[in-house]
């Protein structure tokens, strides 16, 4: 346990210096302001205000950003002398992974609080009550864990600090921009409709939006939960497999 704490604190103090935690705050705040100020009056979201509509995808995007930085840290731990030395220490081989994930969770909470705080100033409300809010937070963090595990597996596998986060940039942009998170499905060309509607970012953001405003469908929640659990299981297994000590 103390090895886990020590490694997590190591990442924390490192990221305070390389400003990753600062970006964890700035990314959702900046994205939210950007989307709201630039698109708020252009996109028709029906009766829902744009801040209420867009916050979920801002949070999801912040989680994806977090995953990209995890890929870099995993690659660095795989390649660097530091990471090699960790594998010669009398600590469990999964501890460095666990520490990276614990940091991701902390980073996700920071981003969640920052994004929600700024959106509240523009009128975002958790209308559904405490139970819905707890579910909202759980889904955001579960999604964050899932994508971070995937990025960690990728970073450990690729083992190149420059390319691993770059590789994630394109899917990240595609998933966020071609989702119902920023604009309703009707605003996309018809041939893109099915992808836009059913891809995980759309599913997750729609469920989050429903939870925030207090009405959602059971089917939507089930699909979102299925996405999160499936991604957690798949990426979790992959990330664990990458942590072998001996080659």
């Amino acid at each position: 346990m103390s090895a886990l704490t020590a490694l997590t604190l190591r990442t924390m103090s490192g990221t305070l210096r390389d400003a990753d935690l600062l970006f964890a705050v700035l990314a959702p705040v900046g994205c939210f302001l950007g989307f709201t100020l630039a698109l708020g009056n252009l996109i028709d979201t029906g009766r829902m205000t744009y801040p209420q509509y867009v916050l979920p995808v801002v949070l999801v995007q912040a989680m994806l950003f977090g995953a990209m930085t995890t890929a870099d840290r995993a690659a660095r731990d795989r390649l660097s002398g530091f990471g090699v030395r960790l594998r010669t220490l009398p600590i469990p081989v999964v501890t460095p992974l666990a520490a990276r994930m614990l940091y991701c969770l902390i980073r996700a909470v920071v981003a969640l609080v920052a994004g929600t705080a700024v959106a509240s100033m523009f009128g975002f409300r958790m209308a559904g009550g405490l139970g819905y809010a707890v579910l909202f937070v759980t889904i955001v963090l579960a999604f964050a864990m899932a994508v971070c595990l995937g990025a960690d597996a990728l970073g450990s596998r690729i083992g190149s600090v420059e390319s691993s986060s770059q590789l994630l940039l394109i899917p990240q942009l595609v998933l966020v921009l071609l989702s119902t998170g920023i604009a309703p499905a009707e605003s996309f060309p018809a041939w893109l409709g099915p992808f836009v509607r059913y891809q995980p970012v759309s599913q997750v953001t729609e469920t989050l939006r429903g939870l925030a405003s207090g009405h959602f469908t059971g089917v939507g929640l089930a699909v979102t939960a299925a996405w999160c659990i499936a991604l957690l299981a798949l990426f979790g297994c992959l990330a664990l497999r990458m942590q072998r000590r001996m080659r």
């Binding site: 090895a3 190591r10 002398g81 220490l89 080659r247």
Partner: protein
Amino acid sequence: MPDAAIECLDLAKSFGRRSSALQGVSFAVARASVCALLGHNGAGKTTTINILSTLLRPTAGSATVAGFDVVRQSAEVRASIGVTGQYAALDELLTGRENLTLFGQLRGLRHRYARQRADELIERFDMVHAADRRVSSYSGGMRRRIDIAVALVVAPRVLFLDEPTTGLDPRSRRDVWDLVAGLRHQDVTVLLTTQYLEEADVLSDSIIVLDSGRVVASGTADDLKCRVGVSYCQVTPADPVHLAVIATALADFAGLGSDCDALIDQKAAAVSVPAPDGVMTLGEVFRRLDGLGIELADISLRKPSLDEAFLSLTSTAVTV
């Protein structure tokens, strides 16, 4: 060896089907001694260290470190060793002190003791002036010092140093040498790798020469020198034209049927023959050449350098 801290038996490691890094390496290192693995790049030094520090699984053979099998009891091995790799293994974003404290905690020290231990090591390694700066601002020598200190945070029974002085300036190299020499008195067994014969000579009690994944010689530095020849008598004629004549005249000193040309060092314009009887041999050589009426610029007796020993040991391995 009854009291061996490291024992390797027929260690072999191949990567893929074609390249084999180690082909049956056996050696033992006595407790509380310093042993050097000497060899060129690609000789198998780092592969050996990586197997012994549980980073690589041997393809065949076995090894024990501090009495524990490196494959079956790898957790126990990890609890007994300290490792510094070829490149400093530190978190660049942290200070030297933070790195030391972190690794202390990872070795199971409580935070308070880890801090205390870090302070001690900073003092001992003469890093007080830089301990609170980020490692990314350190020079190569400072990095290396903190790196070795990290490996000593909890006194290991066996310490692996992979090319501890590669890339260091001469002064920092001296510092590292002093550090390693100091470990001798603390019941730490050290296995280091180096490409520098001088370093192996200065630091270690025993030397193992690796070449193409095989042990080609082992023993003390003096053993290795002796193996090549007791000493040499070197003759430099005033006129290099006479080199061949001299070589023929002295061929029997090098043993019957030996190739005369091999005795000639064209670059130095000299002929060298083994001189088992020292000055007596030198006198005999002088009389013989004097009888032939060859004018000499120089005649001298010298010990073989460790370089000569190393080259002759590794080159025979290539021809075999």
